[in-house]
């Protein structure tokens, strides 16, 4: 399995709205906690270590250069 980087969510706008809605009424700290849980849940769903590594690498891109 390789990381899917092309659009893969049928109703992307819908998901984005749901993601924001999931944070409704949470403090910043709670939102961070929810995001951390979400990362762990999705990572477990993916499972494949190479795909996870690719995802970590992609997410990390751009953070290593100073703003």
């Amino acid at each position: 399995m390789t990381l899917i980087t092309s659009p893969n969510i049928a109703q992307a706008d819908e998901f984005y709205a749901e993601l924001l809605a999931a944070h409704n009424g949470l403090s910043d700290a709670q939102s961070h906690a929810l995001n951390a849980q979400l990362v762990l849940i999705l990572a477990n769903h993916v499972g494949d270590p190479n795909t996870l590594k690719e995802a970590l690498t992609l997410a990390r891109q751009g953070f290593d250069t100073p703003p």
């Binding site: 961070h32 906690a33 951390a36 849980q37 762990l40 849940i41 477990n44």
Partner: protein
């Protein structure tokens, strides 16, 4: 009853009055590792002198969890039955977050092993049993109150030794530094550890109390009785219980050691005050090792070579695996049946083992004592998820308990045979006849033939069994026969479904280099 710390006898060494002959091996440190090392060498016919600056066993329980592999090694050294008889056998560990159980593991769900998964026994008992075995062994010369003050080496080693009756020197072919985490020998050689130091302190206490607690390891994250921190609870024999409490880096170690501070903390853990405080200490963690364990004729073994945090029981158990690995190699070099280069394989294999132990204990320590910020965020969310999703439970890390590593090797192998017994792994025990396979292995190279004809190879013992169901599961997999070459430390050197004498001789000579 509190343990009776009876002193061992000191006798003035001969070296005080006239120079002693050069020894084959001098071992510095009569802790579990030094004592086991002396017995291991004695089993190979090698005599040694063991020097210790003290004359009592270790004070406090210290290393208490002895792994199955350690028990197999200690059994080979003649003290296995004493340790399992006296100790508390356990295999279940429970992890709690606040009051809820979030993870449970069972270490040895399969039977067919002589030794249990883990035995809890205070280090002082293990030392006492080993000292008694050494005292009964004519090849071990155990010298208490003999403190090494200087070391030099020049093709052999010379140590200067202080005793209550004065100083003397002792020469040896090899010097084994088994003198613990603070190793004076390491300092005398000017060697430093590399690795991580954790900014965390733990209180460790042995208490004596009556009670019927199950033989389980119990670990709590953020328990109600010790707010925001973590705690570990272990049962030991003699109604002694071991409690480790996380204190935080800011804790004052001296103040925390005082009974008026410790007792109220323990009362909250056990829920009453009907106990006696047996021993208390405060410790911080390191996960570090020497870059090399072999320094010409001085060889570091156990905590002198590598230290880990205690969660995972990888200190004492890792040290015994060093002993196991070094004994036969040093014997072969001393006897001239192998080149000194064989000792490089001790260095290579045991630094590999130490790295695995350090990696595991570092990860457990980071989970237990996360740095502020994202590390703490993820740790707390793993714990929070564990109560609502099964997948998060095994991510909870309160220590991954000691298992022997599998040494990297290019030795002959066959993919039809089971993974657990691949070359580099320790052989798996199994019942054979009226006894155990582990008792048939060890101290020499052997060829284990299962359902196979015996090839003619000179200079090696052949042991042969009809494959039982358990032997099949552990050694044959999908094959119907196999030949295993097994080292004196019960590590599998090579294996084949079919092999001729030439293939076996080649593998044997590779394993001796």
């Amino acid at each position: 009853m509190p343990y009776d710390y009876a002193p061992f006898p000191y006798t003035a060494p001969a070296g005080l009055t006239e120079p002693e002959p050069r020894q084959r091996v001098v071992i510095v440190g009569a802790g579990p590792i030094g004592l086991a090392m002396a017995l291991e060498l004695a089993q190979h016919g090698v005599s040694s002198v063991v020097l210790d600056d003290n004359n009592v066993v270790s004070v406090g329980s210290r290393a208490i969890c002895w792994s199955k592999r350690s028990l197999e090694i200690l059994d080979r050294l003649g003290v296995g039955a004493r340790i399992t008889d006296k100790g508390v056998t356990w295999q279940v560990g429970r992890t709690f977050h606040r009051a809820a159980e979030v993870f449970c593991f069972d270490l040895l769900p399969e039977d067919g092993h002589k030794m249990p998964a883990f035995v809890n026994l205070q280090q002082y008992y293990v030392e006492q049993f080993l000292v008694e075995a050494c005292q009964a062994n004519p090849l071990v010369d155990l010298r208490f109150m003999n403190r090494v003050t200087a070391v030099t080496q020049n093709g052999f080693t010379t140590v200067e030794i202080e005793t209550p009756d004065g100083a003397y020197t002792l020469e040896s072919e090899y010097l084994l530094a088994c003198d613990g985490a603070k190793s004076p020998l390491r300092q005398m050689l000017g060697l430093e550890f590399d690795g991580e130091l954790f900014e965390e302190r733990f209180l460790i206490a042995d208490i004596e109390m009556q009670g019927d607690f199950p033989s389980e390891r119990r670990f709590w994250f953020e328990p109600e009785f010790h707010s925001g921190q973590s705690a570990l609870f272990h049962k030991q024999p003699d109604n002694i219980y071991r409690i480790d409490l996380q204190l935080g880096w800011d804790a004052d170690p001296e103040a925390e050691r005082q009974p008026e501070v410790v007792v109220p903390r323990i009362e909250k853990v056990v829920g009453h005050s009907d106990f006696r405080l047996d021993w208390v200490s405060v410790y911080s963690f390191q996960c570090r090792r020497l870059a090399r364990f072999v320094h010409d004729r001085v060889i570091f073994v156990g905590d002198s070579a590598h230290v880990v945090s205690p969660f995972g029981a990888r200190g004492g158990n890792g040290g015994l695996q060093d002993v196991d690995n070094l004994g036969w190699k040093l014997t072969a070099v001393l006897d001239g049946t192998a080149q000194p280069g064989l000792l490089d394989s001790y260095d290579r294999e045991r630094t590999f083992g130490a790295d695995e132990n350090i990696r595991n204990s570092t990860r457990a320590t980071r989970f237990m004592t996360p740095a502020d910020g994202v590390e703490r965020l993820f740790r707390n969310q793993v714990l929070a998820l564990a109560s609502k999703a099964d997948f998060a439970r095994p991510m909870i890390n309160s220590g991954r308990l000691s298992k022997p590593c599998v040494y990297p090797t290019q030795a002959p192998d066959d993919s039809r045979l089971p993974e657990m017994t691949r070359p580099g792994a320790v052989a798996q025990d199994a019942p054979v006849g009226n006894g155990w396979l582990m008792d048939e292995l060890g101290r020499r190279f052997v060829l284990l033939c299962l359902g196979s004809d015996t090839p003619e190879v000179s200079g090696i013992d052949v042991i042969k069994f009809d494959p039982t169901q358990m032997l099949r599961a552990r050694y044959l997999g999908t094959a119907d026969r196999a030949i295993y070459l097994i080292r004196p430390d019960q590590v599998i050197a090579a294996r084949w479904v079919d092999a001729d004498a030439g293939m076996i001789e080649t593998a044997l000579s590779a394993a001796r280099q």
